[in-house]
């Protein structure tokens, strides 16, 4: 048979109402340059749209960006939406202007990693890579 040719597939999304997606685009390009296949979904996405797209695209991880301060509501909402579409195994990573005191709440809500403007890109790339690898171990088929 043909050789396995798997690539890490991730989805980058920007939930919420603010219209800035510089951060999200930057991460998308960074991951592409690191060899990822990045599905980019643009600004102002609802948690339901993000979850549905992640399932259809069969991504191994989701990266969310939020600058509006609504991360406490929006990031967990995506985790919840994934549960509703029977895909709780897809890890969610989040980045943006997020104060440290929110980290614990977000982690408890199921956010796998949190990045802030100060996080070095190597660390972000490694986190996505690890999240993908961990996902392959967890999911059932293939």
């Amino acid at each position: 048979m043909t050789k396995e040719t798997r690539k890490h597939r991730v989805l980058i999304a920007k939930p919420g109402l603010d219209g800035h997606d510089r951060g999200a685009k930057y991460i998308a390009r960074t991951l592409r340059d690191a060899g990822f296949e990045v599905v980019y979904t643009g600004i102002r996405r609802t948690p339901e749209e993000i979850a549905a797209a992640a399932v259809q695209e069969d991504v191994a991880a989701i990266g969310l960006s939020s600058l509006s301060g609504a991360h406490l509501r929006l990031f967990p909402a995506v985790v919840e939406a994934l549960r509703k579409v029977a895909a709780p195994d897809i890890p969610v990573l989040g980045g943006g202007v997020i104060p440290e005191e929110d980290f614990t709440v977000l982690k408890e809500a199921g956010i796998a990693e949190i990045f802030t403007p100060g996080t070095p890109v190597e660390k972000i790339i490694a986190a996505f890579s690890d999240a993908c690898e961990a996902h392959y171990q967890k999911r059932n088929i293939g």
Partner: protein, 308 residues
């Protein structure tokens, strides 16, 4: 979903997770790819209409696709989209952004969108895209649209997977028509002038009309219609969908449909065979060739004899 049997049942029931997983398994060359593809509903695949949308970057293919989705959904049809973008030859990564324009349909269970990167496959792209078409059709999609940027040979091959191919152009994208004449213009069944709200649309349509009339001289060529659309406002979509349906019906009524399907099947078989052969060939090349001055062509013949 814990077994291949469940995955296959999931595809038949149109479950998004099963469809998404199945396409990845096949695209990645996973061990279960074969059993998944072999179990697909052949009647559904035969009944589905595969539409190729191709054209230069920025012509409005994704915006048009989004409008076609809305149109077909209003008719109660289930629709699949495969949006292909190039992989970076340097990093091997890809930024897949076509879906941005279709996101409003994401939660709709009867719209399946899959972004696919070319992965620098010399062959194999047709095989992977063709398999994705079949998984979607097997899940009950009545229409499957393949969106691809109309440059390069691999994209030309993708076009041949479609029952109906529409070439999407727009004014102000440079005068590529002359260059395209030789390639895509010849294989297109429908010519779409999108951005009909922009200056230059009328003269682009006239230019295309000229090319079409020239082509009319060739015997037994169907004459492609020029459709004007404003995808961003949803104008001209009904007419385009009507033309797609009309051509599809005409092809199915004649031998053309079967001929096309057979051609695309041959293409995909060749693609799969090359993919399967490649590792064995590479192995033979490196194990059999230690003499750097031997002639490559002669060597290739020798190696092929070994495979027989």
């Amino acid at each position: 979903m814990t077994s291949i049997a469940e995955l296959i049942a999931g595809i038949k029931n149109g479950e998004p997770r099963a469809i998404g997983r199945a396409i990845s398994i096949v695209e990645d060359g996973g061990v279960h790819g074969h059993s998944i593809l072999a179990a697909l509903d052949v009647e559904r695949i035969e009944a589905a209409t595969v539409v190729g949308l191709t054209g230069p970057p920025g012509a409005g293919k994704s915006t048009l696709t989004n409008q076609l989705i809305a149109h077909y959904r209003s008719q109660g049809k289930r629709i699949g989209i495969i949006a292909i973008d190039p992989s970076s030859p340097i990093s091997g990564g890809a930024l897949l952004g076509d879906r941005i324009r279709m996101m409003a349909h994401a939660p709709d269970q009867h719209v399946v969108v899959r972004s696919m990167a070319t992965r620098g496959r010399l062959g194999g792209l047709c095989a992977a895209a063709g398999a994705a078409v079949r998984v979607m059709a097997g899940s009950g999609c009545n229409i499957v649209i393949i969106e691809t940027v109309g440059v390069g040979q691999s994209e030309m091959d993708i076009v041949r997977l479609a029952d109906i191919t529409a070439l999407v152009l727009a004014p102000g994208l440079g005068d590529d028509i002359q260059a395209m004449k030789a390639g895509l213009l010849e294989v297109a069944d429908i010519l779409v002038v999108n951005k009909a709200d922009c200056p230059g649309a009328e003269s682009l349509a006239m230019d295309l009309d000229g090319v079409v009339r020239e082509r009319q001289k060739a015997p037994d060529n169907l004459i492609p219609k020029v459709c004007m659309t404003v995808a961003s406002e949803g104008k001209g979509i009904g007419e385009l969908a009507e033309e797609i349906a009309r051509l599809d019906a005409a092809c199915r009524a004649s031998a053309r449909h079967l001929l096309r399907r057979r051609q695309s099947q041959h293409l995909e078989i060749l693609d799969w065979a090359m993919e399967m052969l490649r590792p064995r060939l590479l192995e033979l090349i490196s194990s059999e060739t230690d003499d750097p001055v031997s002639d490559p062509r002669v060597k290739a013949m020798e190696i092929l004899k070994k495979i027989n």
